[in-house]
């Protein structure tokens, strides 16, 4: 099996990410555990995803790189704050696990899931999509280079197919 969370963690280590803001998602469970266990990283659980946009801005002002982990529903919470990212040209890397796309079992996830890409693009965020487990690492690696090499806001959308949660029972069991 392709251990994509471990590889994503490697990308964050390689990029010298120091602050990890997150709202939990089942798809990010393992990556969050890896980040929390790393003494060189500061894991910052957030009460809402928009806090992470401010956190990332402050980290960069102080000379540190940060990453923001969330589920696609959380993207909607970030929209106005992303205006600051765009206006100030703050580098930003968001790793977004998708809901509301392939095989979704909760209808309430579908509207935001379907709006995730256009909402991000409307705010000037470059959106890259990893459709398979094999694509996650190279896509995230390129996104990290784009974010900090070109002072860009970049979101990597990790397909629901990669996460592979099929039902409420499956999600609760993880």
């Amino acid at each position: 099996m392709n251990d994509w969370p471990q590889k994503l963690f490697g990308v964050l280590k390689q990029a010298k990410v120091r602050q990890v803001g997150y709202v939990p998602d089942a798809g990010h469970k393992r990556l969050i555990e890896l980040c929390r266990a790393d003494p060189a990283m500061r894991a910052v659980p957030l009460s809402t995803e928009q806090e992470g946009i401010g956190l990332a801005a402050g980290a960069w002002l102080g000379g540190e790189r940060s990453v923001l982990l969330m589920q696609s529903s959380g993207v909607g919470n970030c929209i106005n704050a992303l205006g600051m990212t765009s206006e100030c040209r703050f580098p930003l890397l968001m790793l977004v696990t998708m809901r509301g796309e392939q095989g979704e079992f909760n209808p309430w996830q579908v509207p935001m899931g379907q709006a995730t890409r256009p909402a991000l693009e409307a705010m000037g965020v470059v959106v890259q999509h990893a459709a398979s487990a094999q694509e996650v690492e190279p896509t995230a690696e390129a996104a990290a280079r784009l974010a900090w090499g070109s002072y860009a806001a970049v979101a990597v959308l990790i397909a629901q197919r990669v996460i592979g949660i099929k039902s409420f029972q499956d999600q609760a069991g993880r």
Binding site: Q19, R42, V44, G54, A59
Partner: protein
């Protein structure tokens, strides 16, 4: 009680010997207050992203643990980011302080009442979130103690400072976000800021 403190005097007193202090100003009146005390590359005034000031302060405080970070923001701005007090309470950065300049109004939109006008106690929320020394400030004597806590004592801490609901002249900082970011980073990080 009614407020007697004046916001411009309070913010000027917080910044009069600022030295290496790093300042984040919330959008609106507090950004103007910070500018009125003297524009500095070590101030990052927000012109948008309402509710984000405390979190910008948190990211900065975690990145620069040896330096004091002071967030100066308004009651309306803080109310929009109330959850960030819980997030800060979990992280507990000792170098982070928040001064809420509380005029109980949305000052930029017509002086409409905020929740603090109805008694919402931001300092109480902060204490409940783990910012233990947080307090409400009405008087000069209380402010003298709050100033010491904000600038020197171990944080995180929030001081909710009640001020008069005055309409006072605008003193605007630079508006260009890219400029504000770049000059702040240069002032904090030196020439390496541009090499990163």
């Amino acid at each position: 009680m009614s407020a007697i403190l004046k916001r411009r005097e309070i913010v000027a007193a917080l910044l009069q010997e600022r030295g290496e202090l790093l300042v984040v100003a919330g959008l609106g009146s507090t950004a103007w207050d910070v500018s009125a005390a003297g524009d500095s590359p070590l101030s990052f005034p927000l012109w948008g992203a309402m509710g984000a000031a405390a979190m910008v302060g948190l990211g900065l405080a975690l990145a620069q643990p040896a330096r004091r970070v002071l967030v100066i923001t308004g009651d309306g701005e803080m109310l929009m980011g109330l959850g960030s007090l819980a997030t800060i309470g979990v992280q507990r950065p000792r170098n982070l302080a928040i001064a809420v300049i509380d005029n109980e109004r949305y000052g930029e939109t017509g002086m409409q009442a905020t929740h603090t006008a109805s008694g919402v106690d931001l300092a109480g929320v902060a204490r409940a979130c783990g910012l233990g020394a947080s307090a409400l400030v009405w008087t000069e004597a209380e402010f003298a103690a709050a100033r010491k806590a904000l600038l020197g004592q171990p944080g995180p801490v929030l001081m909710q400072i009640k001020v008069l609901a005055e309409k006072i002249p605008l003193v605007l900082p630079p508006r260009d976000g890219g400029l504000l970011k770049a000059r702040f980073r240069r002032a904090v990080l030196g020439p390496q800021a541009d090499a990163e």
